[in-house]
């Protein structure tokens, strides 16, 4: 019986370690995706100050660390604007459509990453 408990405990510890590693890997993937595609306008820290935002840039890219504003946006709204571009949600065309560039899994990871940046939940819908 004691042997059984030991084996179960070991299995649980290994299982937990595997889960933690997998989640970490997923998070790293989303951050990499964000830095590669989004940071050029939204900045590496997500504050809307990427290198493309010069004095001539006609709009202000969204600051993803602004919890008050980010909590007004649903995850579906973010998914739509990322994949289909700004005009699909009545926003600027300077937010291009990424739907032919990144996968559904990528955008799901990005949404989680953005929620991590704002430390907020989106409204339902």
């Amino acid at each position: 019986m004691k042997k059984m408990i030991k084996i179960s405990l070991l299995a649980a510890v290994f299982g937990l370690a595997w889960l933690v590693n997998t989640e970490t890997a997923k998070a790293a993937g989303a951050e990499e995706t964000f830095k590669f595609y989004c940071a050029q306008c939204h900045g590496l820290e997500g504050k809307g100050k990427g290198p493309n935002v010069t004095k001539d840039f006609p709009v202000t890219p969204r600051d993803f660390t602004n919890a008050k504003e980010m909590s007004k946006l649903s995850d579906n709204y973010i998914r739509g604007i990322v994949m289909d571009g700004g005009p699909s949600q009545s926003k600027s065309p300077l937010m291009p459509p990424w739907g032919k560039t990144i996968s559904d899994a990528d955008v799901n990871g990005l949404i989680k990453h953005l929620r991590g940046l704002c430390k907020c939940q989106g409204k339902a819908g």
């Binding site: 995706t33 590669f36 493309n52 935002v53 840039f57 291009p96 032919k100």
Partner: protein, 220 residues
């Protein structure tokens, strides 16, 4: 008799010219390796990048389709006087381009340009795009899908505006092959499996990709 001699002479001259061109490309390959260009650029295709990390690990752009991408005269000149094409250092969003790309002598530049121009991609069909004014292309470029968000370009009066993350499009009409611009818009991942520019094929109609290519290749 005179005709036969002339024919032999012409064939001999042709052979010499072809041989010389081949020798130049060979000398160019040797110079490319001697100058350690291979430390930052690879020239054997197809594309090798399998992930974003692979792309970010590169120190300079891939050149395995340089002969389809660039215009020979521009390439030869640029290798001797390499003014920055990107405002930012390659693969960086924070570091300014130091403008320290090695310069080649006139002879090496001609040979390396010959070598690089021999690196072509069958994906680029020749003679499809002619640089010309395209109002539709301009509208997409400036308003519908504003390329200017990431690329600098010059107005008719010469005012340069635009973002910094992509290569500049100032003077692009002399730099890039119009057919490559279209081929890249049509099938970008063939050339760059991981790139920070969105794929517009499948979003814009093929006709509009051609219109954008015409407009871009007409930029001064």
């Amino acid at each position: 008799m005179r005709l036969i001699l002339s024919t032999f002479a012409a064939i001999g001259l042709l052979g010499f010219v072809a041989g010389a061109a081949h020798a130049d490309a060979g000398a160019g390959k040797a110079a490319f390796e001697a100058q350690k260009c291979t430390g930052c650029h690879y020239t054997d295709g197809p594309a090798k990048e399998k992930s974003i990390a692979d792309q970010l690990a590169k120190k300079g752009p891939e050149l395995w389709y340089a002969g389809s991408k660039f215009q020979a005269a521009w390439l030869k000149g640029w290798l001797q006087d390499p003014k920055p094409i990107r405002h930012l250092a390659y693969n960086s969003l924070t570091k300014k381009n130091a403008g320290d790309h090695p310069k080649l002598s006139g002879g090496d530049a001609a040979n390396v340009a010959d070598f690089l121009m021999s690196k072509t991609s069958s994906e680029v069909k020749v003679g499809v795009i002619k640089p010309k004014r395209s109002l539709k292309g301009k509208k997409i470029f400036t308003k519908k899908m504003p390329c200017t968000g990431c690329h600098q370009s010059a107005s008719k009066k010469g005012k340069v505006t635009g973002g910094f993350s992509g290569p500049t499009l100032v003077g692009v009409g002399k730099r890039l092959n119009p057919d490559w611009i279209y081929a890249y818009l049509k099938n970008p991942t063939h050339f760059k499996p991981f790139k920070a520019m969105p794929t517009f094929a499948g979003i814009l109609k093929d006709k509009d990709l051609k219109n954008v290519a015409k407009h871009v290749s007409n930029l001064k």
